[in-house]
Symmetry: C2
Subunit: 400 residues, 2 copies
């Protein structure tokens, strides 16, 4: 598979601080971060940052070995269980901690019918919408600079017909229509942080979602990237479906984020279950064969997505087994031990798709470089530079 | 079922030409046309108007007994089989003939992937779109005043993924996206005849079509009415599905037209057939039991639709058995004899939902009237008036 688009491939000039060409020298280029977003749920960082428990230290340390991108929870019901009493400080501290570690953070989600605040239902629809937009303003404005990437609205295809229980967001989506509500929440998020990356996110990958996106874009909704969930508790999609989904959602020319990826290392959930949340089990063990299978599937899936020019991010949903639905869906087991999928992904992200190379400059201090896009340390003995290599534009690197 | 919204119910003043109240008189009010559009395919009028054949005279005469609204064909492939050589004169003559008979005409369709002109495929996409818009201009401008109602674009849900054969319209829909193409063709039609009733029309009544309409409306597409096809070759939808479809498509608050209705008076097409056009039979006979069933289903369906405040039109697709797919789908048999469904619909349209009444005015020449909306002849002996009664606004009727 062609991954040329993940690399910088160009002639670069190396000089010292005085502008003198570093002629005929061995220059080392060592990657420090990927431009591509290798993401994972970052929920486990919250107890670690807040309480510093040893269990979470081990867990988050291994997490940081691979990932440069975390999703943090903004579910309204948990974030603001009582009106006006938010979880802001805990999330802000965690986001700042992750930023310090070079990890980009996405907030998930600003508007969703599930895990919605119950107290909202005390209001009429006009007030619910007003509070929804105020909530977006509060979070997007308040976290700007720390969190500049948001799942603005989640699972809109099902939103107005969701009938498992009454909730405030389904009520306003019924009234405003899908695109009508999307327009409002995106407009507000964009107004509050014009530079933010704003996602529409859905588990529905059918023609429904395509038509919804099509309508939104024609209605001028400022969608930065298309979010596609891929919870595969019922079995790996496989190459064919994955390529078919990529092909269909590429038509819009927008970046694609795989926002919630799950592959299981145990028994597969039966196909007849329609809502994954209906699968309630006491135990859902990981198995040795399941772990090998999960590692193979992760490898194939990440290779396919990394090779697709429009894919900019892949986020695995659960870092540790047992997080959602008790599923063996993590890179580490419940005891924090590393699974084959962890080793597999680390090999891809930190070896195969990672740059650590030495180039020799010519008389003019120039050399051809071929490196994976991202942040790099360039060095010649004690001379060093921290630089971003992300495109094939002309570039002079000054070491000092 | 409540059909109050189909009636005018108000106090009216009757005067002579000098403005003198027609006090204590028996005034007759006799309906001449419905405000509601009782429609049917009008294709059979073309050979009659062009050649005047006796077979078609009988056929079109019985047609005119019931219907006030006809669909005429504008399938691009037939309308303009060679670039620049159109069927305009035949269609214009037929439309004018129908108008003279008090029949409103709709053109069907201006843009569709099926029955598209083959010669269009000689052009690149940009040119195809240009020619599509020019075609819309030519027809909508050219027929304005005679045809002011259009199925602007047909079956868009499937349009970009239609893969039975290559065609020019699928090509441009793939490139522009569904909503993108809808925007262009509606903008052109609206520009050419701002007063025209412009329909989006589809056989897909799923959530796909809902989301498509939602997107279009938010993108500012000037849709006048939602067109819903209901070809029931595979069996009558029944009250429950009909009401469910009405409920879902009512959310937009737009008028709803049942644009292509079919109920069968013979054997039902098997459910496994996905595209109705795939059902190729030598014979598809009408049966006595089938005809009774068809009449009952027509009655139930028309009653439900007539009772729904947003439904403004119902068009039966085939007037005569054997028209499309050889199906026994008509109101008349192949030999032009009338089927029970004909008698049933005529009873509804021309008796039960038809006004022929006499009111007695008071000292001031006033009377309460309750009549079905439409055109009426009001008379007192030789004094007559042709009037439109369509709302409950104050009205004085002058007989002369």
């Amino acid at each position: 598979m062609d991954i040329t688009h993940r690399k910088v491939n160009k002639r670069v000039r190396f000089t010292d601080k005085q502008g003198k060409a570093l002629s005929v020298q061995n220059i080392r280029i060592r990657q420090e971060n990927h431009d591509f977003l290798f993401g994972c749920g970052g929920f486990d960082f919250i107890p670690y940052v807040l309480k510093g428990e040893e269990e979470y230290k081990q867990l988050t340390d291994s997490w940081l070995e691979i990932f440069n991108y975390a999703t943090l929870p903004f579910y309204w019901g948990n974030y603001e269980p009582e009106e006006g009493k938010t979880n802001r400080d805990a999330i802000m501290k965690t986001a700042e901690y992750l930023n310090d570690k070079g990890v980009k953070v996405k907030g998930h989600p600003l508007c969703w019918h599930t895990e919605c605040a119950k107290w909202l239902m005390n209001y009429d629809n006009e007030t619910i919408l007003k509070k929804q937009l105020e909530r977006i303003d509060r979070e997007v404005t308040g976290f700007a600079g720390t969190i500049d990437m948001w799942d603005v609205i989640n699972e809109v295809v099902i939103m107005p017909i969701f009938d498992k229980y009454d909730n405030a967001v389904t009520r306003i989506c019924k009234e405003k229509g899908r695109v009508g509500l999307i327009k409002e929440v995106f407009a507000k998020a964009h107004e509050c942080n014009p530079d933010a990356v704003l996602l529409l996110n859905d588990f529905n990958t059918s023609i429904d979602y395509e038509i919804l996106i099509d309508g939104c874009l024609n209605a001028g909704v400022p969608i930065s990237a298309i979010g596609i969930q891929s919870h595969q508790h019922q079995g790996y999609w496989g190459r064919e479906k994955l390529e078919e989904v990529l092909e269909r959602f590429s038509h819009f020319g927008l970046p694609i984020h795989f926002t919630e990826n799950t592959l299981i290392s145990g028994e597969i959930m039966p196909a007849y279950i329609e809502d994954l949340n209906d699968w309630q089990v006491d135990e859902w063990p990981t198995t040795p064969e399941g772990e090998e299978r999960q590692a193979r599937q992760i490898e194939e899936m990440y290779r396919i997505l990394f090779a697709h020019p429009l894919v900019e991010a892949i986020t695995t949903w659960d870092y540790r087994d047992g997080a959602w639905l008790k599923a063996p869906s993590g890179y580490v087991r419940k005891d924090n031990s590393l699974k084959p999928s962890y080793e597999m992904l680390k090999k891809l992200v930190k070896q195969e798709w990672w740059t650590d190379t030495t180039v020799v400059t010519d008389e003019n201090g120039e050399a051809e470089i071929e490196v994976f896009k991202g942040d790099h340390e360039v060095s010649l003995g004690d001379l060093k530079a921290q630089i971003k290599l992300v495109d094939n534009e002309e570039q002079t690197i000054v070491l000092g």
